[in-house]
């Protein structure tokens, strides 16, 4: 009987856990401080990479600073969104600088003197 009660108890616990699993998954998808800080760190890394080739854009650092403020205020979704935008700016600035490293006189200028 005791075994049966214990078995019933385990079954109930398993049922409750199974019922709560979807809720748990949903809860874990809600952005939290750790996710926001990770996003900000990724943005900062992208900004530094762009800066290393002279390709940083004007507002990227300010966007990251604002994202930090939002995270500190507990506005994690807003912080993550802004950090993602800053990260994208860093990536684009890096690619832009590399793509322009051989920039030169356009042919329409040089050709005029020939």
């Amino acid at each position: 009987m005791i075994t049966t009660k214990r078995g019933y108890g385990y079954g109930l616990a398993a049922g409750v856990l199974a019922a709560l699993l979807p809720l748990g998954a949903a809860w874990s998808e809600t952005p939290d401080r750790a996710q926001a800080l990770a996003g900000i760190e990724a943005a900062e890394a992208a900004r530094r990479r762009a800066d290393s080739v002279g390709g940083e854009w004007r507002d990227t650092a300010a966007m990251i600073a604002r994202a930090r403020e939002l995270a500190e205020a507990g506005r994690y979704p807003d912080a993550i969104e802004l950090a993602d935008q800053a990260k994208r700016q860093g990536e684009l600035g890096y690619d832009q600088a590399l793509g322009e490293q051989n920039a030169d006189f356009p042919a329409y200028v040089l050709d005029r003197s020939r």
């Binding site: 800066d51 002279g54 390709g55 940083e56 854009w57 004007r58 507002d59 990227t60 650092a61 700016q89 832009q96 600088a97 793509g99 322009e100 490293q101 051989n102 920039a103 030169d104 006189f105 356009p106 042919a107 329409y108 200028v109 040089l110 005029r112 003197s113």
Partner: protein
């Protein structure tokens, strides 16, 4: 595929993905001739010696305003303050005249290639080198006393001719010129604009209410009193402002990027008369 075949294929692929540049490499002399010819053809009614006046050489309406402003030049105080600075001895009893015996009319000596330092030497950098050599703190490079000093030197140098040289026997000088040129033509910032987009290809057109000034004449008149600033500012301050306008992070004034840019751009303006300090909107 053979080793050579692979190499050839790689080079062809790389060539196909590189940005389109000039068909053949040109020397600085050829590029300078092309640059100046471009503006003379773009603005055929502007006399060559008028390009030093920037947008006021091509826009009669803004020229009228500018000429009215020049009747009571807003840079006059800067000239007199700069003269005082020039003549005030340092704590060790020496002064700027000891560093620059040809001074104060030395504007056309800069920018120049400095062999010993292996870098472009600009006038603001030379002034601060003089100060630090005599135990004085260096001046900030965008505005304030450095702009006053430059205003006095520019005023005393009026009438001199831009004559930047790229020494043939020092490849580092040519490298600095090339870096400055690449900076000038490189797209940057969120707006993806190069300096050349506004001041070469679309010079003379309107950006909102403003007429975009030709690059030919951009280096003749610094420092300037800019109405937008409400004060004097240096060439590198303007470089930084332009970079920020295309939403790029500005570089440090008198850092290598802007020094080389100044070297390239001033070389492009060789032959034009120096007429600083200036007044601009």
């Amino acid at each position: 595929m053979t080793k050579h075949g692979f190499l050839l294929a790689t080079l062809v692929l790389a060539g196909a993905t590189l940005p389109i540049g000039p068909v053949t490499a040109a020397t600085p002399e050829e590029e300078q001739a092309a640059f100046q010819a471009y503006f003379k053809q773009r603005f055929p009614n502007v006399p060559e010696d008028e390009f030093k006046n920037g947008t006021y050489a091509i826009d009669p309406v803004t020229r009228e305003n500018w000429e009215a402003i020049e009747e009571f030049p807003p840079y006059e105080n800067a000239i007199s303050q700069g003269e005082t600075l020039w003549n005030t001895p340092f704590a060790d009893g020496q002064g700027y005249a000891d560093c620059f015996p040809d001074g104060p009319a030395i504007m056309n000596h800069y920018p120049r290639w400095d062999r010993e330092r292996g870098q472009v030497m600009t006038l603001p950098l030379a002034l601060n080198a003089c100060r630090t050599a005599h135990g004085e703190t260096p001046l900030k490079y965008k505005k304030g006393p450095i702009a006053d000093l430059l205003a006095y030197i520019a005023f005393e140098s009026r009438g001199q001719i831009t004559q930047v040289e790229i020494p043939q026997d020092d490849p580092r000088a040519l490298a600095a010129y090339e870096q400055g040129k690449r900076f000038y033509f490189a797209r940057r910032g969120q707006l993806n604009f190069a300096c050349a987009h506004c001041h070469l290809a679309t010079s003379g057109t309107k950006l909102r209410t403003e007429t975009l000034s030709p690059a030919y004449g951009h280096t003749t008149h610094w420092p300037v009193y800019r109405s937008e600033w409400g004060e004097m500012g240096t060439l590198h301050r303007r470089f930084a402002g332009c970079n920020e306008q295309v939403r790029a992070k500005a570089f440090e004034p008198q850092g290598e990027e802007y020094r080389n840019l100044e070297y390239f751009l001033t070389y492009m303006n060789n032959g034009l008369e120096l007429n600083g300090p200036g007044a601009r909107k």
